[in-house]
């Protein structure tokens, strides 16, 4: 009985000491491929974590989602053939400014190159949505969604984010369906679908973030 207790205690203590050494001291000196690949995974993991945290894709997805959900009602209120263009002409800059202020206030900043590229994509998205919203003939209601889908696709590549790509895919399918059907009912359903998918993905991304990342 004593022997069993001694062996168990000793093994547990040795395990704890080994774990403490690993956590508090240094990685094992990389002398074989296994150690080295473990360290490379460690480096990549940390790098990806900081990029994910800095990208904070939940915010633009949430704001964009709300804009999509509000689109049919506001476009109805504005009325007229170019209502969709006017709506996105106003909502686009508002989304851009909100995102700019949000990212500037973050405790972690994306590389300047990525931030500039994101700003360029955002402006292209807005100009594209505006242009298509005003000038896509009879199917203009679905046209801004095409620009939104393209913009989200570019953001997905830039941020290496599957979630953003998912919402971009939903926007693309909705835009194609809307242009094909071209009815006001389809328009409402398409924008609501994209908005709900976007907000849902944003909330899921927010909930899966580590809580300590928000602490000041």
């Amino acid at each position: 009985m004593f022997d069993v207790w001694w062996v168990l205690t000793n093994v547990t203590l040795r395990g704890k000491v080994a774990a403490m050494n690993f956590a508090q001291q240094s990685l094992p000196v990389a002398q074989d491929a296994g150690d080295a690949s473990g360290q490379l995974r460690f480096v990549e993991g940390r790098r990806a974590a900081s990029r994910r945290l800095a990208a904070a894709v939940w915010f633009p997805l949430l704001i964009g989602g709300i804009a999509n959900i509000a689109a049919p009602t506001v476009v109805d209120l504005i009325g007229g053939d170019a209502a969709s263009g006017w709506y996105w002409g106003f909502a686009g800059p508002l989304i851009g400014i909100s995102c700019g202020l949000f990212y500037a206030s973050r405790p972690i900043h994306l590389p300047v190159r990525v931030a500039i590229t994101a700003a360029v994509i955002g402006i292209a998205l807005m100009v594209g949505a505006l242009f298509l919203g005003f000038s896509f003939g009879e199917s203009r209601a679905g046209a801004p969604l095409l620009a939104v889908a393209a913009g989200l696709g570019a953001f997905a590549v830039l941020y290496r984010s599957l979630l953003v790509g998912l919402v971009g895919g939903a926007a693309l399918i909705a835009a194609i369906a809307l242009i094909a059907m071209n009815t006001s009912r389809a328009e409402r359903v398409a924008y609501l679908t994209v908005g709900i998918v976007s907000c849902g993905v944003a909330i899921a991304a927010l909930l899966t973030m580590r809580p300590e990342a928000h602490q000041e």
């Binding site: 000196v29 990389a30 945290l53 900043h109």
Partner: protein, 107 residues
């Protein structure tokens, strides 16, 4: 022969970079422009003292840049950024690790 090569390459590793927490700090900073002290501390699960000690060492060798811009009426934030020298040191470390992996013939 392979063991000799591996040992030689292991000797090339920069001890300042190789330490687990410092490697974590450098890798974390390599993905972003800059990060606030508290964010690094929370993400890497370090204490204030521990992170301070590692950052001081990394700043001494010029691998990170620490700044504390003060804005009137607002809390002073401590920002940490990877310097070009630090980025190069991390890249060299990664290259050495990759060379170590490549030196082992695949089964």
């Amino acid at each position: 022969m392979n063991n000799e090569q591996s040992t030689n390459r292991a000797d090339q590793l920069d001890e300042t970079v190789h330490q687990r927490h410092r490697l974590g700090i450098l890798a974390f900073l390599s993905g972003v422009e800059r990060a606030e002290f508290t964010t690094i501390r929370n993400e890497l699960g370090l204490t204030d003292g521990n992170l301070n000690r590692h950052l001081a060492l990394l700043a001494d060798v010029g691998y990170v840049q620490i700044s504390k811009p003060s804005t009137p009426g607002r809390r002073t934030r401590t920002w940490v950024a990877l310097s070009p020298t630090g980025r190069e040191a991390l890249s060299a470390h990664v290259r050495t690790l990759q060379a170590l992996i490549d030196s082992v013939p695949s089964a």
